[in-house]
Symmetry: D2
Subunit: 342 residues, 4 copies
């Protein structure tokens, strides 16, 4: 249940509502969405309490929480959300491709990749500085040094930067360098982290966990939006199934299912789904044809010596070829790739 306050609701009235709920043992969560102040109540609140509250001064409306992710649902907001990152708009008329290396490894590597993907039509740059790795003995990223390299290349190429943040205490640091904060698949249910990026002003790219349902992804987005940050882009990146010929199974159906349930933009990450380079262009085309607003793709200037995810990284040439194919599919979908002259 969500209590929506009058826009001019006094602090005193608001406090009375909160006190009323707490006296009944209810727990709550206050958030500001646009100009509205929302008080979210926990599931188990009695109907009698709902009636009492609906009649208190300052209360505009009581909304049952159905669907369970009120802020991000299409019912709540029928028109699609466009998320602006620098001068790029995700969820608008344009198909947006984000590209870059899995990990930032060095200035030379990042520069080679960034200049090449920019020339081939990428609209944003990706690259990991903090890497969550299954093994403590795998490369964990360059940290702040990597962030500085990303920021530098962003200025050089004009491409806004997205990079992963793995812990609440890093959000401010990453937010100083990056234009968009990525929540990785493993952290999709790291609720403290979701709340932390929900309190930041930079937009968020939220990846689906490898075994998370569509509903859980929407609830994770609800954590971010209800904490105050409405600029969330969702990303399908493959789920874990019995099939082993691919690293994960791209759940292409999740794209139209998400578009039906939420107003947030939806992207596809064909690289992590495939796990091998030669499949990436096929999944990329399928993603756009399935209705995605864009793609995030791993590209490396020398994949064979990459410190992470080499096998699934496109070569520079491979990325160029893929973009040619995508130009045709995007045009057929009525949402063209835009080439920016620099």
């Amino acid at each position: 249940m969500i209590v929506v306050l009058d826009q001019g609701c006094s602090l005193k009235d608001k406090a009375a509502v909160v006190r009323q709920i707490e006296q009944q043992g209810g727990r709550l969560l206050v958030s500001v969405v646009g100009k509205e102040t929302h008080i979210g109540l926990i599931d188990s609140v009695a109907q009698s309490l709902a009636t009492t509250i609906s009649e208190m001064p300052g209360v505009a409306e009581i909304r049952p929480v159905a669907p369970p992710y009120p802020h991000v649902s299409r019912e709540h907001q029928p028109e699609p959300t466009e998320v602006r990152v620098g001068d790029v708009v995700i969820g608008g008329r344009e198909t947006v491709v984000i590209a870059g290396p899995c990990s930032v490894e060095s200035r030379d590597q990042l520069e080679a990749v960034a200049r090449s993907v920019a020339a081939d039509g990428a609209r944003m740059l990706r690259g990991g500085a903090f890497k969550p790795r299954s093994s403590p003995y795998s490369f964990q990223g360059l940290g702040e040094e990597g962030l500085a390299l990303l920021s530098h290349m962003s200025v050089e190429t004009g491409l806004p930067v997205v990079t992963e943040v793995v812990a609440p205490e890093d959000v401010d640091l990453v937010g100083r360098y990056a234009d968009m904060l990525q929540i990785g698949a493993r952290n999709m249910q790291n609720f403290r982290l979701l709340s932390a990026v929900g309190g930041h002003e930079k937009p968020v790219l939220l990846k689906r966990g490898i075994s998370s349902t569509v509903e859980e992804l929407l609830l994770a987005a609800e954590y971010v939006v209800s904490a105050g940050n409405p600029r969330v882009v969702l990303c399908e990146r493959g789920i874990r199934t019995f099939e082993t010929t691919t690293r994960n199974t791209l759940d292409i159906s999740a794209v139209p299912v998400l578009k039906e349930r939420t107003h947030l933009p939806v992207m596809v990450d064909p690289s992590h789904a495939a796990g091998q380079r030669d499949l990436v262009p096929h999944l990329a085309r399928a993603g756009i044809a399935g209705g995605a607003d864009g793609l995030i793709v791993e590209v490396h200037n020398d994949p064979d010596s990459a410190l992470s995810d080499g096998p699934q990284s496109l070569t520079l040439d491979g990325f160029g070829e893929m973009m040619s194919q995508l130009a045709a599919i995007s045009a057929a979908m009525g949402r063209p790739l835009v080439r920016v002259l620099s």
Copy 2:
């Protein structure tokens, strides 16, 4: 291991090879592929036997069975197989769409659907006469009466017909009426049935089991081809995963993976994967953009009163709209939909 005989190998020489294998306790499987006669041996045959046989008269070659599906593998035959059904070619330059009701229910129903999908560009007609159903109390199909209706509408519309066969003893019956024999997902590992359609002259549409791996699908195709019928088309139709917002999870990656491993054509069934009508066009577009040679789609003139699979059947109008979208995507892929004037 496969023993390939000389094309002019005498019956006597052939018998000697067979006897040699059987005397060593080996089991075998004889098949004719094109002009070649193949003797497939079971896995556990000793290397010594292989050497002996390779030196016998009439033996052209010994091929190790690697990959385990020699007849259907790309290694065995690099160029793609085109499967002709009536005047339709699957796996050629054209994108082929098969459409029709889940079950044949009546002459009126079938006629309404068949004429409409033909007008909108479907190139083949589908419809079930023998329905494998999870419950013994669900509608099991019209049987031969349904086959006769399909055959009649095929003549009326000029569309070749594909329909499911569920048991070896029905293969001849179904083959008399249909232009293509469908093996459903539940029967993908019904090896007797695979062998039976492998002994028939009609082409086969082989659907992937809902929890079968890509390798198991290729081995199932190998059963059909090694039994003598090389005209097999594979079909991805969704796999079973933890996600419940869709009936199954369309494994779009399986399309490029299959195209890489086999020379056989690959189709996509977006209807069974989705389980709900509104998702079908999105998955259909993704399938074609992902590289499929065609689609098989369920369409009904009155889905709400369908005896099976109503929720996932497109309406007649919905099919027309989907075909307009597909025309653009197929053209972008360089494999257009072909409109046949009748």
Copy 3:
């Protein structure tokens, strides 16, 4: 909906009921369960028809089909079914262990295994004569020769025999040699085969498909029982999941879930679930402790040269050790292993 006829219902009355249903376009399925004659109607029959039929002569009762597997549900029959195979009772007070090789390979092999497992407390003998194999080049079983060997060893040891039947046309043949007919996991939804064993008088061991839900397993059992054969034993043997350290994932929870929903006995096959020998005793103990009525286990006198499933077959000694452990667990469960003196 199930129409239960009066026990003395005349043929004429029965025919009238059938005609009434067919005139309304209803499809039906007649079965005899104990002394009752049941007419099962397809789902889509109108309520008005139900009312009409309930008032016809010879009709005892109309049962709504809820749950969808009326014959096998606990609601239908609260007390557990005991299935007798020879002098063995599955589902009674005793814990029953079935053991034997995956495939019957030779007289010597079968004799060595059968005598050893009998001495160690196995109460029934298993062994495959018709083997469904993923690859057409794998060993497919000895066929009737294997059946004859099983039957011979059954006489020698006093152990009733269960063996797999893979096609409707083989049911009579297998039924002549075997005491119990096994439906393998791949054929759990081979509905023709289910109907065929439903028409036979021998009891049936029905294995769960690797990606079948509990509900689908119960519906498969309903096919057999509604076709006239109430002597069905269910078997959990592992499902397909993302985890690859085991061949399949033993769904131990399915045991109590099944016991709650059906009155049929439930066994566990730890061998196929594990896929490796050393795990089998652990899963066997867990199965019994989880409430299973018995186990079916693969044992080989020389696993390393087995023609199928060697890695998961227990050695003769390994089986003996496992039985010692099971004796303690079964006793703790109040359902002891019974040692038969021969």
Copy 4:
């Protein structure tokens, strides 16, 4: 690769080794395990560097990292680890049952549950104060107030307490109140959190993620142990599969698989796996019979009004009955439940 230093290695020698690695661009991770200092190197280090380092002063040994989780592997340490929590030993001869409510809700609730489970043989108390919940509108736990209640009841009953910690910044706080730190399934790959508890002196209960492989669980344990905390207990709590009759699918095979690969103790959580109360005792028995060192079970004095996980919580009486059954199974396994007189 792991560099093991001499036990008396000087700081200067250690620094030289580190410098040598870093000059070659290698990344490293220093940990102290017992009396040994380990320097873990990232995967991509050249063999030449390994040779150089092995010859430097202060270096005792170079261990290839195979298996990838060296500290927790059985190869590394054949004898089982016993983890002491207060006066309870997990992984020893005794079967240990941990019980308590999902969430700490109030003093009365916790007291009722704690006294009852203690009387029935529970050896440790569980209860959540910080709850990770899929929805931001669900009850998130009492926080420090809950910790204080747990600590109080621990003193009252003599039961050591385990409770979940969800963020690195909470580790010290939780560690002040609790005897054991729980890492929940959703945080199994929250690597910052793993490192944080790895730096604490309290033992850790590490739950498997719902879609984590056995190998990923062992790698997560390696994060904790390699960060300096060897007192880790693993917990299987069900994985996500296609089956929906249970909340998750208890992967009972993971118990013997883990026992084979690691020396760490392994527990089973039947409550989260089942998701419904009536299945819990069956899974609990199966877990012990499958070889687990203990169980962690949810119990509530009034499950119908629980703020979280009510449907899967045992009643007080239900827990008592379960313990009677477990006493028999544990005894049959030779690892009895121990009753402590208070």
